[in-house]
Amino acid sequence: MLLKNTYNEFIKIIAKPRSYIGLGVLTALILVILFAMKADGSSYISFVTASFDQTLSFNGNILNGNLIAFIILQMLIVHIPLLVALVTGDLISGEAAMGTIRMLATKPISRTKIVLSKFIAGAVYTLILTIWLAFLALVVVKWMFGTGDMIVLNSSGLVILQEADIFWRYGCSFIVAYLALLTVSSLSICLSAFAENSIGPIVSTMGIIILFTIIGSLDVTVFDSIKIFLFTTHMASWRSFFEDPISMKDIWQSISILIVHNIVLVSIAVIKFNKKDITS
């Protein structure tokens, strides 16, 4: 029954126009960034390299596909949660708003399986969004700007990565980025279980992300002890794969915290939905 309802959820996601907004907006944003880089990328990159002009000499094509893919990922990872929440925040509350939740909950499928099938469908949608991002950032960008060694400016300084050493880093970073986006999906599904309309969970998800991001960026000791437990702190963990040496300990810690978030959020959604009186 779980698989059957998951299949139903895919049919619904595919048929909903809003599911294509994310893919469309993502494509449009990347095209804007590519246009900007094509038109004036050299001045953008000289802004980054200016402070090293006295000590380093850069030869070859610095503004290549590998660097632009990194820039795209860094810019968009802030916006993609909204695109994810737009679809996943509607999965339970949208049924309540439409009235179909009554039909669904009177079928011989447990409420736990209803929530789990929606989580799986949301996870697959998020995966498709991530794969689309990866395709545009890695395949299309590299086709347009070529490849080469990559320079990354981190808090610890400038890291230069060999061309042959880059692809696997992107592969791993997309996996971690997916896990972060999956947490956003779980959060919006969880909020969706409490709501009777789609707007509430979508806005609340973004509100929580903004709040946690602000708490994470505030340099105040009172928040130091909780920062590590906020999932937003780990949303940028994909960047760790572009450091040298890579801190696997930090990456595993981020992965663990994101997985725990997913489990807790889906569990809350299951408990809430099981206890909910459907009166709409």
């Binding site: 029954m1 909903k16 179909t100 009554r102 669904l104 009177t106 011989p108 009186d277 459907i278």
Partner: protein
């Protein structure tokens, strides 16, 4: 012997401090078209939602097909088809796709042919590929009945199935329900505040008021407990009233309108009154005994 399909005992449900259902009990037998009557806000929908596990009761028990709903939910729901208030569908999907989706999780492997046959049964043949967002309320109601029947359940629960329908739609849905009983021998629970609907369709009923079950029994027997009102259309109604009052002073006779009079009496008195009037030369144009569920319902609700 009657085989109970639904047994509700001392059901109660509170929303905060508001007690929507207080100690409701009733039994639905196999093959019944069971009317669930009550004024708006009486607790009908809450009780029906409890039967379908949409709402968890605070107290009482519900057994369906001889099994407790709380412990055999999926097994029981597998054999129930229902419409709660109005059937809502995925508007962005076609009628066929909607039926496919609900059939898939109803435990039936309905083929495209089954879906086509069901659409035909409810009079929606040729509209299966159309998106539901273009359907009228009546069409959605019929699609709801198709969704209810597709997995061939033994028990059908319909909560206010004619709400918002035009007279033609009401007749269509009513006829569909009668066909379920006569052609498919289904047990139907029908919640409504349309008394005439229950009177025509149901064989047994329960009336609930202010969250409590007030009375339960056969529709016919309950209605027949009522005093009969005999309406007679005849020539010279004023003199006819005088004659009846003189011959039978205990009867209450009133001039209803035009040439129609109304007498409250026992069934045995009908031929006597008829004989009296004909014998004294009154021309009887029509003679109609009135005994309505509406009167019974109002009496029960006002008590």
């Amino acid at each position: 012997m009657n085989e109970p399909i639904i047994e509700v005992n001392h059901l109660s449900k509170k929303f905060g401090n508001f007690e929507a259902v207080k100690d409701v009990s009733f039994t639905v037998n196999k093959g019944d078209v069971f009317g669930f009557l009550g004024p708006n806000g009486a607790g009908k929908s809450t009780t029906i939602r409890c039967l379908l596990s949409l709402i968890s009761p605070n107290a009482g028990s519900i057994a369906i097909f001889g099994k407790q709903l709380a412990s055999h939910r999926s097994e029981i729901l597998n054999n129930i088809g229902c419409i709660i208030e109005k059937p809502d569908f995925y508007r962005y999907l076609s009628a066929e796709k909607n039926l496919e989706i609900f059939a898939r999780i109803s435990g039936s492997d309905s083929s495209k042919k089954d879906i086509q046959e069901m659409l035909e049964f409810v009079g929606l043949d040729g509209r299966g590929k159309d998106k539901v967002k273009g359907f009228s309320h009546g069409m959605k109601q019929r699609l709801g009945i198709a969704q209810t029947l597709l997995h061939k359940p033994d028990l059908i629960i319909l909560d206010e199935p004619t709400t918002g329908l035009d007279p033609q739609g009401i007749i269509e849905v009513r006829n569909l329900i009668l066909r379920l009983k006569t052609e498919q021998n289904k047990t139907v629970v029908l919640s409504s505040h349309q008394l005439s609907e229950i009177e025509i369709i149901a064989n047994r009923m329960v009336i609930i008021n202010k969250g409590k079950s007030v009375i339960e029994g056969s529709v016919e027997a309950l209605v027949n407990e009522q005093e009969l009102l005999l309406q007679i259309e005849l020539s010279d109604p004023e003199n006819a009233i005088k004659l009846i009052e003189m011959e039978y002073p205990a009867l209450i006779v009133k001039h209803l309108y035009g040439s129609t009079i109304e007498i409250a009496l026992d069934k045995e008195m009908v031929p006597k009154i008829n004989y009296l009037l004909v014998n004294k030369g009154f021309e009887i144009h029509s003679l109609e005994p009135k005994r309505k569920l509406e009167d019974f319902f109002m009496k029960i609700i006002q008590e």
